[in-house]
Symmetry: C2
Subunit: 179 residues, 2 copies
DNA sequence: ACCTGAACACCGTTCAAGT
DNA sequence: ACCTGAACACCGTTCAAGT
């Protein structure tokens, strides 16, 4: 049950390499290259992260956690709908950047089986609570699937981005959510 | 300048093979397999379709054409906003199905350089005209990027689909479009 | 003018051998 | 218990030789 020190260190090295690759290339990452950049064997990479999805999930974990905290905090806000919109803007602005990553993210969020999907369950629940409050106040529509909403926003084409990193199309969606 | 008969026939065979592959597999298509299924050499495939995008564009052409015709027809409708919504529902329901295809489609639509993008210029223009009419009537918002709107709808997660093939999330977007 | 398929390269994945 | 890298497989792409 004890985790060897070198195993832990390797895991960190792999994550660092993954982070570097994801932020550099706008396109796709050669999974193999993560191992190479980390200076480790391919087998080690596969041992720690069975699929590239698992690596992505681990990399996004911090962001998920931050967003979960945000949601919990906003639960105490005065205006439920404002809280929902504020959270979604933050969510959208989060530089899931790195092109392919956001697309993959969107697909994964909608697919309940995926590694990323389970990694962000708390975040989803946090936002669902926020939304529920707005719905109960009669401010938001009830026919909204949280997973789909988040997936759509995550995969908003990253082309037309404003300077602050937000997507102009988000306004259309926010407006569509209101009751 | 004259096209050889066998070249034309091969092109059709390749398209048929591509169609078959795209409708069967829910996931991705091995580009190579298109040539194999068609019973032709890889070189022939590459001659006709330099990238898999070009093949996809050719396959989608009929649909684009049909949608362009729809848009032209609806330009004569009585209620501009209804016309816009009707057209978008048809667009959404079009079984661009085959999983990966719709995602690829969404990305391509947003990317002006892509082969798919140029293939659907008339369709985009047709819809843009419909939308402009609704905007002039004060029924639709003006801050809408046509390419982005179509790209988003095309990449709506294909998971939660109603029986008729439409996405429930489309309602959120339609509502968000209204002035 | 077009077609073919061998040949090369790249990348994902596994696993026997090592520590 | 974990790491390594050779080895295999698959697929994309090119191109010299053929018709």
């Amino acid at each position: 049950m004890a985790v060897r020190a070198d195993a832990l260190r390797n895991r960190e090295t792999l994550l660092a390499a993954g982070r570097a690759l994801l932020s550099r290339e706008s396109a796709e990452i050669a999974f193999e290259d993560v191992a190479a950049t980390a200076g480790l064997g391919k087998g080690t990479l596969y041992r720690h992260f069975p699929t590239r999805e698992h690596l992505v999930a681990a990399l996004l974990q911090e962001r998920f956690d931050a967003l979960t905290t945000d949601a919990e905090f906003l639960l105490g806000a005065d205006y439920p709908l404002d809280a929902v919109e504020h959270w979604l803007r933050t969510y959208d602005r989060y530089p899931v950047s790195a092109r392919g990553l956001s697309a993959r993210f969107g697909e994964a969020l909608a697919d309940r089986e995926s590694a990323v999907s389970t990694a962000c369950v708390p975040m989803k629940q946090g936002f669902a609570a926020l939304l529920a409050r707005a719905q109960e106040a009669g401010l938001a529509r009830r026919d909204i699937d949280v997973a789909e909403l988040l997936a759509v926003i995550a995969s908003l084409p990253r082309l037309s981005r404003d300077e602050d990193g937000s997507s102009p199309f988000l306004d259309v969606i926010l407006r569509g959510i209101r009751a």
